[in-house]
């Protein structure tokens, strides 16, 4: 199963065509993901321009250090993911597996920090809809801010969880020796997905955590 031709599906003429098809398919999928997150970014932009003071005020309730650490963690995980793709292309199976495991570990660290942040928000009564308490003059818009905070970071965390599931699939298959220098398309595709999820966070971090910093 290590040869690319062995995994060619019947509808393709050669493995090159199959590889290019996967490549286009993944980029098209990422385009749909951009539009998916784009709807929330659009709503965020609207409300931030409507209520700039409330958004800045509410943003100061987020822990910029934890957010910053998480940003660093994700950037590192993108590096280990890129190394995983590189080692798959070079045929280094052991490096591939350890890079994938490292990526998963960093993803789990991110999620751990994220959920501890959620817990703190719950304790501080900053979860909209359940028990939201805020100073009177910003109460409504701040609740909108935290609705976006939970919707956007929640959707991002969901993508991270799916990503970790996909990485598990990659680890299992690399241990079985399914990937080779001539065929490692799944590693490349899931790598693209992982980088995409990281980039979403790169936008979320300043929009949510840093809006209030300059005040």
């Amino acid at each position: 199963m290590s040869k690319a031709e062995a995994v060619r599906a019947h509808q393709f003429d050669d493995s090159g065509q199959q590889h290019e098809a996967s490549w286009i398919g993944m980029w098209v999928f990422l385009a749909t993901e951009i539009m998916f997150f784009g709807g929330m970014f659009m709503g965020y932009i609207l409300y931030r321009s409507l209520y700039p003071a409330a958004f800045a005020n509410a943003s100061n309730h987020l822990d910029v250090w934890l957010g910053g650490i998480n940003t660093a963690v994700l950037i590192c995980s993108s590096f280990t993911m890129a190394s995983a793709v590189h080692s798959a292309a070079a045929g280094k199976r052991r490096t591939l597996v350890s890079c994938l495991l490292l990526t998963m570990a960093l993803g789990l660290v991110f999620l751990g920090i994220k959920f501890s942040e959620y817990y703190v928000k719950f304790v501080e009564h900053l979860v909209p809809g359940i028990s939201f308490v805020y100073e009177q003059r910003f109460a409504g818009p701040a609740e909108i801010f935290f609705s976006f905070y939970f919707a956007m970071t929640g959707m991002h965390a969901l993508h991270m969880i799916i990503g970790i599931g996909l990485l598990t699939y990659l680890v299992v298959n690399s241990l079985r020796g399914r990937f080779s220098p001539s065929y490692h398309t799944p590693v490349e595709m899931i790598g693209l997905y992982w980088h995409f999820v990281d980039i979403v966070w790169i936008f979320l971090f300043p929009l949510l955590y840093l809006v209030g910093r300059h005040l």
């Binding site: 599906a9 019947h10 509808q11 393709f12 003429d13 065509q17 290019e20 098809a21 286009i24 398919g25 098209v28 999928f29 385009a31 749909t32 993901e33 539009m35 998916f36 997150f37 784009g38 709807g39 929330m40 659009m42 709503g43 609207l46 409300y47 409507l50 209520y51 909209p128 809809g129 359940i130 109460a139 409504g140 818009p141 609740e143 909108i144 609705s147 976006f148 939970f150 919707a151 959707m155």
Partner: protein
């Protein structure tokens, strides 16, 4: 191949039998059948709701249903027809079946993803049916907030989750088509040799890919706002009610082009074939599909002319909405120019195609009325709007769908349907449709608002005409179901090319083998090379499909 018994040869229908061989198939042709059966099911469910609506509107009083029930009826009619019939109809049935064959491929690029799309569609459909069974939903198919997110006491969450899920079926189908059209074309099949059906599906796929995710996230936000009481659209907390409308129509106006573009693709195949002529201005028809998809993304604001949107935004959206009429008009003019001096035969698919051109022209021109700011304020939310979009979605899209099903039925099944009955059905549908919806233009112009189950007595005559037309239309829709099923067993054997049409799908036996072609075809000429056939010879050579 002509006249040989079909059963002897192995093809995609007889290669394996049993429920499992269908539910686990990855053959695009069989998946097309799965979709055909399921969209037909949803079409008749949606039609049932429409029947109840038209029955209630026979009299000015509310005597069949109460206002609450009526709200649920038109909501579920819209949701079922749009998300579960119109959007998947032509792309998922005919597109699935034909795109690989038209470009000379063995299958779509991702066959398992294609099957997964069908399961996703069915899962979404089950959610929506469950919502209907649990008592229905009353927000209108547009799910406007804050009514949908806070106030409605019906099964909004279940329905929007169903539509959300089904959206991913569209996204993945679009993705599959785009990759297939880019990477799977046979040797010699250049972009400008592609059938226009493929071009229009390419344009449709772009909308699937870029529009549907926005609907998905908007509906997801409505669902979480409803279930977890987040405050994204809630005016009480400072939320902007117009935000949802912008996000919703950013998808849902392009969705109108999802419904009509594939139909235009079908018509672009039918007109040249039954006029025995090369399509007039191929490149213009091809690029007008792309232009409709692109401009279609910039016109959504014309749904909010009276919703408190800025008047300047309204002016820009009005102008852009006029612009989208240009590529649509290019298509109509090019089809009629194709007819000019053609050797036209009035087979059933052609009757649907001609009906399409007429109804689409009326639907499109009344769309220009609605794009005009001043007139829109007069007819906004009246039956004029209802009539306009039914001329596009039913008059045009369903006509094209039926025309396409008739045209490619011999390819899909290897059998001919009864031509006489098919012509009769086409005629009945055309008459029934116009009788149903033309009076609604008048009603709307006179000021009858949409979404009410009672109306002033002076509107009764027009409403009775409309309901009478609906019953004729219903007969027209049931007829094909009967004679098509009949033809599966008793229809004449079709042969590989009963219409003497051009196109790769006609060069392979009917029904096609599992891999579509015995050898990968080599394409050496443009699509629609009909000039080569002498008109009289073509007509004489065509089997009288007996």
């Amino acid at each position: 191949m002509n006249g040989q018994p079909v059963a002897r040869r192995e093809h995609y229908l007889n290669v394996s039998y049993g429920v499992k061989s269908w539910l686990f198939t990855t053959d695009h042709k069989r998946i097309a059948w799965l979709y055909l059966v399921s969209v037909t099911f949803f079409f008749f469910i949606g039609g049932l709701f429409a029947t109840l609506i038209r029955l209630e509107l026979l009299t000015p009083q509310g005597d069949l249903v109460q206002a609450e029930t009526y709200n649920k009826l038109f909501t579920m009619h819209g949701v079922t027809m749009i998300f579960f019939f119109l959007i998947p109809s032509i792309p998922a049935v005919l597109g699935n079946f034909l795109i690989p064959m038209m470009i000379g491929a063995r299958d779509l690029a991702f066959p398992r993803l294609n099957l997964a799309s069908w399961y996703i569609y069915i899962l979404g459909g089950l959610f929506t049916l469950a919502a209907a069974a649990a008592g229905g939903v009353d927000t209108g198919w547009t799910f406007y907030t804050p009514y949908s997110s806070i106030y409605s006491n019906t099964n909004v969450a279940l329905t929007v989750v169903g539509v959300f899920i089904t959206g991913f079926s569209s996204i993945l189908t679009g993705l599959n088509f785009v990759v297939t059209i880019h990477k799977m074309r046979a040797p010699g099949m250049t972009w400008f040799r592609l059938p226009l059906f493929v071009w229009s599906h390419y344009a449709t796929s772009i909308i699937f890919i870029l529009g549907t995710p926005v609907l998905a996230i908007s509906l997801a936000l409505v669902a979480v706002e409803r279930l977890l009481n987040l405050g994204i659209f809630d005016p009480a907390r400072g939320g902007d009610p117009l935000l949802f409308q912008h996000l919703f129509w950013f998808y849902s106006h392009p969705a109108v082009y999802i419904m009509i573009l594939p139909g235009m693709g079908v018509i672009s195949e039918l007109i040249p074939c039954f006029s025995r002529k090369r399509v007039f201005g191929y490149e213009f028809v091809a690029f007008s599909s792309v232009a409709i998809a692109v401009i279609g993304f910039l016109v959504w604001g014309h749904h909010m002319f009276v919703s408190g949107q800025s008047v300047y935004a309204g002016m820009v959206f009005s102008l852009l909405s006029f612009l989208v009429a240009i590529p649509s008009a290019i298509k109509v003019f090019n089809w009629t120019a194709t007819l000019y001096k053609g050797s036209i035969s009035y087979d059933a698919p052609m009757l649907y195609a001609l009906g399409f051109i007429g109804l689409f022209t009326i639907g499109g021109l009344t769309g220009l009325f609605l794009a005009t700011l001043g007139i829109d304020i007069h007819v906004h939310d009246t039956y004029f709007v209802i009539a306009h979009f039914h001329y596009i979605m039913v008059g045009s899209a369903v006509m094209a769908y039926l025309g396409g099903i008739h045209f490619w039925w011999p390819k899909m099944t290897g059998r001919m349907y009864s031509e006489g009955w098919a012509r009769l059905a086409a005629l009945i549908i055309f008459i029934g449709f116009n009788l149903t919806f033309f009076p609604q233009f008048v009603l709307g112009y006179l000021g009858m608002p949409r979404r009410y189950h009672v109306y002033p007595p002076e509107f009764q005559v027009l409403n009775v005409m409309s309901s009478a037309g609906a019953s004729i239309l219903a007969v027209g829709y049931v007829l094909p179901l009967v004679y098509m099923i009949w033809s599966l067993r008793y229809g004449a054997v079709a042969g590989k090319n009963p219409w003497r049409a051009t196109g790769l799908e006609w060069e392979t036996p009917s029904p096609p083998p599992t891999d579509n072609f015995e050898v990968t075809p080599l394409v050496t000429e443009e699509a629609y090379a009909y000039d080569a056939i002498e008109p009289e010879a073509a007509y004489a050579g065509r089997p009288a499909h007996v």
